[in-house]
Symmetry: C2
Subunit: 173 residues, 2 copies
């Protein structure tokens, strides 16, 4: 087992608290200032706020493996739109994504081999949502969001591929 | 419909690209340097990387409405652990969370009223995962992660409540 990062995270948070402005940042209301929601991959090299120039309070950020429009992402988008007033969605996938490197059967076998048969049986029933074409995956997720019953059909949905080697967001049209 | 943010986001990205170091940041490998995964709420006031002092490349970040251990979050955690070597999970919920302000029936009615009956019918089948007690929701999600078949049972799972008025992470034990 790795040494825990918790001490470092607590030190990182102490420095953040030291610089935190309670009168401005600490007084922000719940609804995102820019009325936007970003759906992005969990990848460690993609910090959506930095990449888009978002300040604290600007936008909802939903992230998962791949930045996929999963049922859970749609749940989050519906809550964001109906209860907190967001009116725009930005989908960000990225180059060199781990989701390009495997198929469902690969991770199911790996789970069975490393965690045992009951884990393997559970994994056999799960779609892990890998993909083989970046632009196609962005387009597929935009379509899922636009067509989802619980998502507002009038809200624009934009797509980008983030290049992890240059920091650049390339639009997907 | 709101004016689109896209022009501003593209300007924000251009500034980010300008400052991006391709030799260091651009050369990072896929696996998170700190072998950690953070599961946090999508709230606009919670920037997990800033709050924890995470650099680009340090950790996977999974986010959804509430920072809940949904089936999709477990999918992401399994991919992170089995394919990309993370060995620690940090769950972050936060004060003044939107998820404290409604029940499933409230959002289902709102979706039906604002998006129509077919949207309402779809919403009736969805658990939106609101909660009424912050520490209890963190503990519940830690338990779900620890007990999930597809998650490595030996991996430590830590919990925090982020105070949006002070920037402080308060541990949940």
């Amino acid at each position: 087992m790795a040494t825990s990062n918790i001490e470092d995270f607590e030190k990182g948070n102490a420095a953040f608290v030291e610089a935190f402005d309670q009168d401005t940042t600490g007084a922000l209301a719940i609804p995102p200032q820019r009325k936007a929601l970003v759906l992005a991959c969990m990848d460690a090299r993609l910090h959506p706020e930095k990449v888009l120039g978002l300040e604290i309070g600007d936008a909802h950020v939903v992230r998962n493996a791949g930045g996929r429009a999963s049922a859970d992402a749609l749940r989050s988008i519906a809550i964001s739109q109906r209860l907190l007033g967001t009116q725009e969605v930005v989908v960000i996938h990225h180059t060199d994504c781990g989701m390009l490197t495997f198929k469902d059967d690969d991770i199911r076998s790996k789970i069975r081999d490393e965690l045992g048969d009951s884990a393997g049986d559970a994994a056999d029933g799960i779609a892990f949502l890998p993909f083989s074409d970046l632009e196609a995956s962005v387009k597929a997720d935009i379509r899922i969001i636009k067509e989802a019953a619980i998502v507002d059909g009038d809200v624009p949905v934009h797509g980008f591929v983030y290049d992890v080697t240059t920091g650049r967001l390339n639009p997907v049209n």
